[in-house]
């Protein structure tokens, strides 16, 4: 059964590879590149102006609403994926009608949300 799990191995290897590549490049670069930060250089770039305050301040609430709608849709998508995957099978068995009705009901509820 560990054989069946092997399909996840490339995922881990790729992630490890990315990390190694990143850290390695930074380390190699450390040997090669100059390092002499000055006060001006390390200040945030604001077209030469001296920055006022920090950038971590309030933002428009609209961003949050976008994220909110997104997460709801994301979750509904997660719900619909398995149903979508078996939909064709049901149709071939001649029982597509009820499943289609369920799916349409689901989507219509979703549409109400977006129309809101």
């Amino acid at each position: 059964m560990s054989h069946n799990l092997d399909v996840y191995m490339p995922v881990l290897i790729l992630a490890a590879f990315a990390a190694i590549m990143f850290v390695g490049a930074l380390l190699v670069g450390k040997l090669l590149r100059p390092h002499n930060p000055t006060e001006l250089k390390v200040s945030p770039y604001e077209c030469g102006e001296v920055p006022i305050g920090t950038a971590w301040s309030n933002f428009n609430i609209r961003f949050y609403v976008v994220a909110l709608i997104f997460i709801i849709f994301d979750v509904e998508g997660a719900f619909m994926f398995p149903v979508a995957a078996v939909f064709k099978r049901f149709v071939e068995m001649g029982e597509g009608g009820p499943v289609l009705a369920l799916l349409l009901l689901f989507i219509s509820v979703l549409l109400e949300g977006i129309s809101y």
Binding site: V7, P10, F17, A25, P44, Y45, G77, F81, E92
Partner: protein, 402 residues
């Protein structure tokens, strides 16, 4: 199901022999080790090719833009300036690594790493050919969605960590843009899943055929629209023009990576270019037939049938190489279109961007989804052209009867 490159290689007669040989030499069961090594080598190849593609992507981008704008483009380093990206890489690695004074040091380190990890992990399921797929997870498309949303987190964190107003704005915009365009993309992919009846890239690709009329893009009218929704959404997700608002250099300096220098910036850029490739590959696999080669060339049947002298295994290999070529060709064609669009269209305004997504693309995508569901139910999954052909033959038959 769950095909990997290892299971493909294991079909070859020499594989189990080699495994048993190695087990004998090492004195323990080496199956796991060999699997690991094969995966490691395959990953190494894929990553290097992808890095090359990313590098050549920057070159192609400049060259094509120069072509469109009647300029020369890079032409100094190597023949036709082909080695420009190497020069850029050397330049990047020798640049000073500046961390801004007020930055969040940890997150400043983590952000490009997250972007890179997210993009690399999405490489695992790209179906290059029927044999050479790193792993064909049976949740392929869904996994891809999840992993690619890591890039959104990376962009946000990158913007946040720099503690610069330009970066923060860029990061905020980038994250909200990516997540909002993920909705139409998800819905379009759902439509494909409905048509294919499976989540893995293998299933989806096998459900299509080699010739254009067997592709999902021409399956029915709704899927034709769905392809464009997916493509535009993919453009927006990869922050490409005309949706490159997060890095709009005329408004935001350089967006979320304003403060990133040297290699960190290079990794962000590399991640972006590879992501474009991945998304083009996904579009090609989902709608344009993926690695399918017409006339049964891909599986080697054609060669086996017509040239019996050729060993079936070799025929299969030839088919695989052809599949690889077809897939890469489709992807690169889409890549060209992406670059072409970038240098042709102006940038959208931020409110237009959100309006486009929520008021047009998402309803269109939902409409598509419903349409495709009804289509499959009504016509039992037959494609438009099949129906037309059968209708035509029926008409011809009735016409002949008269």
């Amino acid at each position: 199901m769950n095909d990997t490159i290892v299971s493909y290689l294991a079909q070859a007669p020499g594989y189990s022999l080699a495994v048993s040989k190695i087990s004998e030499i090492l004195g323990f069961d080496a199956t796991g080790l060999v699997t690991f090594l094969v995966f490691g080598i395959a990953v190494f190849i894929v990553v290097n090719v992808m890095a090359l593609v990313g590098g050549l992507g920057t070159y192609a981008e400049r060259k094509i833009s120069a072509d469109i704008q009647m300029r020369q483009g890079p032409n100094r380093v190597g023949p036709y300036g082909l080695l420009q990206f190497l020069a850029d890489g050397v330049k990047m690695i020798t640049k000073e690594d500046v961390t801004p004074r007020d930055a969040d040091k940890t997150l400043f380190f983590v952000a490009p790493l997250l972007a890179l990890v997210g993009v690399f992990m999405s490489l695992a399921v790209i179906p290059f050919s029927s044999g050479f797929t790193l792993t064909s997870l049976n949740i392929g498309v869904f996994y891809l969605l999840g992993v690619s949303s890591l890039v959104g987190v990376a962009i946000f964190v990158g913007g946040y960590a720099s503690n610069s107003k330009w970066s923060m704005l860029g990061g905020m915009r980038g994250a909200s843009q990516i997540i909002s365009y993920e909705v139409p993309v998800t819905l379009s992919i759902l439509a494909v899943v409905l048509m294919a009846g499976g989540l893995s890239f293998g299933t989806i690709t096998e459900a299509q055929g080699g010739l254009p009329h067997q592709w999902f893009i021409l399956h029915n009218p709704f899927s034709f629209i769905a392809f464009f929704v997916l493509f535009v959404g993919a453009l927006a997700e990869a922050n490409r023009a005309p949706f490159d608002l997060p890095e709009a250099e005329s408004e935001l300096v350089s967006g979320y990576h304003t403060e990133f220098t040297g290699m960190r910036f290079a990794f962000f850029a590399l991640a972006e270019y590879i992501e474009v490739f991945v998304l083009c590959g996904v579009c090609a696999a989902l709608f344009l037939g993926g690695y399918n080669v017409p006339f049964g060339l891909g599986s080697g049947d054609f060669i086996i049938k017509n040239f019996p002298a050729v060993h079936p295994m070799i025929a299969k290999q030839i088919g695989n190489v052809l599949q690889l070529k077809v897939f890469v060709l489709k992807t690169l064609a889409l890549y060209y279109v992406v670059i072409w669009i970038r240098w042709t269209l102006p940038r959208l305004r931020v409110d237009h961007l959100m309006t486009l997504c929520w008021k047009y693309m998402t309803p269109i995508a939902i409409f598509n989804l419903v349409g495709i569901a009804i289509w499959i139910y009504a016509f039992e999954g037959k494609s438009m052209l099949t129906l037309m052909a059968s209708a035509l033959s029926a008409m011809a038959g009735s016409g002949g009867g008269h």
